[in-house]
Amino acid sequence: MIWETIRLALLALRRNKLRSALTMLGIVIGVAAVIAMVTVGQGSSRSVAASVESLGTNVLSIRPGGRGFGPGPGSSQPARPFTLRDADALADLAVVQQVSPTVSSTQTVVAGSENLSASVTGATSGYLDVNGWTILRGRGFNSAEDRSGASVCIIGMTIQQTLFGTSDPIGQSLRVGKVSCEVIGLLQAKGAGTFGQDQDEIVLMPIRTVQRRMLGSDNVSSISVALAPEVSSQRGAREIEALLRDRRRISGNEANDFNISDRAQIAEVLSGINSVLTGMLSSVAAVSLLVGGIGIMNIMLVSVTERTREIGIRLAVGAEASQVLTQFLVEAVVLSLVGGIIGVIFGLALAFGASLFMAIPFAPQVYVVVLAFAFSALIGVIFGFFPARKAARLDPIDALRHE
């Protein structure tokens, strides 16, 4: 009998194709929105997680200046910069495995007839390890180049593709601002970073070279520190803080004029923000699913009124109240389930497109799909019940007489 009822419901829905389609639209949009939100949200948190991993673990970043961002207490006087001597001192700490002092400068990079504007990072040999880069071709800086201000550079994949296309860059000459250098290494591509920026648009030069020949100063703008294995970031930060306070002669109760941040922590905060956003957008989408359900109820109520005479005929030929109830309930559930199926397909397609566009992994979630089905069936039952009960309670004579 239930199959018969489902068949009847499908027939009734087919008799009114346009209305059925419009009714489903609400559910389709709701389900598609939820599916797309959750899938894209999941994809972007995976991409955050991946970029956290690419940072390498246990890396602390140290910058001059007070805590927090923007102007605040203590920012009235310019923060004292770091120098390479600070980096050397940090390297001598037992908790530190490697240091990577950097400076950066935006320069026009030219090779042959091609050019582009890129951020040039002055770095030491520790940079690659600390930041999780690997050399694809050529080599990194050697310790002589580290301190000598040699005219050599290492480039990222984007630079390679823009300036050299498919030809081998190693040994080629590159002009960075006013400085000429020889390309000694090509970095393995990393892709988009946490903020969606292109990490491969990178030019590395020995820090001395950038300091002397581009910036004209001995300052170091930040120092990244890879901690030794087994050293917690808390302990590392504590020892680094103590050393720097001592070197910078900050007395007992004075605030630090530098700050130490744990990049893994930043990434965690980011992924937290990401999941809050995903949650919020998904709840908005869920509300639209609810609105879709109310749409179903509305149409089913209209349908019951419009089909009063049909209901009367069914009752006259011997339909029981429960059979009329089931018929209308099944109609509502079929509507919302079919809407759910279309919504899932549509939502996944949408998420796939968005993932491509945002360059994040496409991460469909089986549980969300299952949940969306279950939820749309539930919506059909909940919002179909009231109209169905109304239909089942009609008086046969009144229903037959209905114009």
Binding site: R15, A316, V317, A321, P396
Partner: protein, 242 residues
Amino acid sequence: MAGSLPKSGTPLIQLSAVSRVYGTGETEVRALDRTDLVIEKGEFVAIMGPSGSGKSTAMNIIGLLDRPTSGRYLFNGTEVQDLDRDRRALLRRHFLGFVFQGFNLLPRTSALENVELPLIYKGMPRQERIERARQALRKVGLDGREDHDPSQLSGGQQQRVAIARALVGAPMVILADEPTGNLDSHRSHEIMRLLQELNREDGITIVMVTHEDDIAAYARRLILFADGRIRSDSLQPERSPA
């Protein structure tokens, strides 16, 4: 009482002092007033009377679509006046067929599916249903029109579909409230010959309301209603099929 018919066992329909009152107090309408009526199996009864005299009210009670306010109703020997909705639905499903003035076919639904409808609620398998519905349509002379919508059929054809729907479940009685009310004279007589045939050849009891003498003439028994009561009840020479 029209007591001259041979009585074979229990009467099919037996109303005893049945009243049906609509509304209360000032607005009270006594549509049926302590009516007694006995209809035997196999009868062909025509009910006539002025508008508002309670004919449809009586038909609805006989057809178990409505319940009497007071009085007893024995259907095939069983008391049915106090049955609940679903029990009455079951009796309608298995023993009753209806033909209405306004045809009351499902719109946008083929003739075949309209005729199938009662069988669906009987829980009959699909193949058998289709077979029976085809037979019923053949019986009313509509073979070849199985796939037509009501909108593609004339009034007379629609009423024949309705008759096919009423007879497809092999009911004991067909109740027809003004079955020819919306039809011209020619079609009306076609419908009446069909009902007469069902009564004679298949032994289906027929109770029919009409306003026209020449339609009532097809029945063997004529009951006249006035003010919610039976004014006269008489046998009449049956009109021979033309």
